[in-house]
Point group: C2
Chain length 316, copies 2
């Protein structure tokens, strides 16, 4: 028996873009979009619509900006079969001015990613996006280092000042265990009435899929995944595992398996993602993944003990 309220969102290109500065080929983006449509994933997020004042188009690929013409090139000729298109805006690095009215855009949903400290910026963008006709979510990043006395009022603001479809628990550091997932999802559900709770998990401790299931058990209905787990650092909840678990017969895992083989595994030579010891270390110590990503680019890849001791200094 499945829960019809559950919506699955693929963010392979968006979160994966944090691992390659959003430099995906058009062919890869079309392959991911088509696979998600054929699998009947509810939403597919094709990148960020962030500000060109904050990110140089010389350095970052086009999926950091998701210009309408690029989104059209990525999607035209592919039957959406009900799959809707999302883009993400970073509250502190994007502008609602970059959103066209919904009637002129292929985008259906705008997801606003924010730290608690930027909640007012996030709400301003959400309000503007709603006014332009989009569905919206607010995704609270780095949840594992937020304090209750700052998070709770932020959630109350989201409850009172927005019309988001969902508000997300985002485990940016891959630090949560199941008990903490319970804690946050229950808190969100208590404060956010009439809005759905979403979960976006990272795989530093091989818990992204397990924590997504835990979120489902506690009532989260918006679930993020990426194909073969592609995403920043250790990556995300693998879409193929999520679809293998969910019981809604509308989902078809096969197009995702094809996409793994033909579009995602070929990227393994150029993008480094997945379970690595430095990512595991930042996960268990509840630290930002940037330090682990840096050490993996440097030559001494096996200085795990030294990296552990260095990270430990940050928490002691």
């Amino acid at each position: 028996m499945f829960r019809p309220e559950i919506k699955v969102l693929d963010c392979t290109i968006r979160d994966g873009g944090l691992a390659n500065d959003s430099h995906f080929t058009l062919e890869t983006v079309r392959a991911v979009y088509k696979a998600c449509c054929d699998a009947h994933v509810d939403y597919v997020e094709l990148g960020y619509r962030n500000s060109k004042k904050m990110f140089s188009p010389d350095e970052f690929g086009r999926w950091r900006f998701c210009d309408e013409e690029d989104l059209r090139a990525a999607t035209e000729g592919i039957d959406p079969q009900g799959t809707r298109i999302a883009v993400m805006q970073d509250a502190h690095k994007a502008s609602a001015d970059d959103l066209l009215p919904k009637s002129e855009s292929v985008v259906d949903m705008v997801r606003v990613a924010t730290y608690v400290k930027d909640i007012d910026k996030a709400i301003a963008i959400e309000n503007a996006a709603r006014a332009k006709g989009y569905e919206t979510t607010i995704n609270v990043m780095s949840i594992s280092v937020e304090t209750d006395w700052e998070l709770d009022p932020a959630l109350e603001q989201i409850q009172n000042e927005t019309q988001v479809k969902a508000c997300y628990v985002v485990d940016s550091f891959g630090a949560l265990y199941s008990e903490q997932v319970d804690y946050f999802v229950e808190k969100y559900r208590r404060i956010l009435k009439g809005k759905e709770v979403g979960v976006h998990m990272h795989n530093n401790q091989q818990l992204a899929f397990a924590n997504t299931i835990e979120g489902i058990i506690k009532g989260a209905n918006f679930l993020d995944g990426t194909i073969y787990g592609l995403g920043r650092a250790a990556g995300n909840c693998p879409m193929e595992l999520l679809l293998g678990f969910l019981k809604n017969p509308k989902f078809d895992i096969r197009p995702i398996l094809d996409c793994v083989a033909h579009a995602i595994m070929p990227l393994q030579g150029e993008i480094d993602w997945g379970y690595r010891v430095p990512h595991m270390i930042t996960g268990i110590l509840n630290q930002h993944p940037r330090a682990a990503m840096a050490i993996l680019k440097s030559p001494g890849r096996d200085g795990f003990r030294a990296f552990y001791d260095k990270m430990l200094e940050l928490v002691e």
Copy 2:
């Protein structure tokens, strides 16, 4: 606050031996043993003591048999610091006659692996091993395909006819979700009075660590892990994650990190283990990993859809 009853067992060499026919070098086995001793892991399982009538020594390495002289070579000169040595016997492929009296052996614990159908053989070996002075466990394999009407009486036999320290839930197929872990651990605890429950998880769905945590939450106190997850097919609960999670200050993750870098990662060229799509498929369909291991050795590694459809025929 930690639970002092929790015992951690490393089975890198034993379960990893299913991926390389137990052909580890002495140097690798010594490195794993030393890392576990230095990390204060409670038990380290150095292989099988299976019958040379069932496995040819021409085909299988010495860690399939764990002759006393090989165990001595693997451990001599290394300070155990409290770490105890285990070997595994397969109920249907081993003989208690191959066990010396405990006083003549470096082995501390004999773990008997069994299918439910072989429970009488397992109990006979357990009884003999106990009589020779060893600690014992019984590990019930392939738990995800056992029926309650066969499993429950087997557990009652273990309760009434053995003196095992622990009886294990073994998810050989990597098919369990957290709710099934709850179900089995609770069942074991209900039937097995005065004996501990153990969990041995496989990682086909990236749930080995999460399911081990779930076991802990439900009261399992014997926990299996392997360094960097090395083990058959998708591998096991990674020891480094388990030690990162457990709160007992006696554990030290650092020697395990060193072992990952210097002894286990170098094996990646010769042994294939970890999360792979075919392993994921057998996990979600609750099938034996052998089919996935076979397809990964054959040339068409990316025929994931075809493999999925073929496996699906077995369950429909």
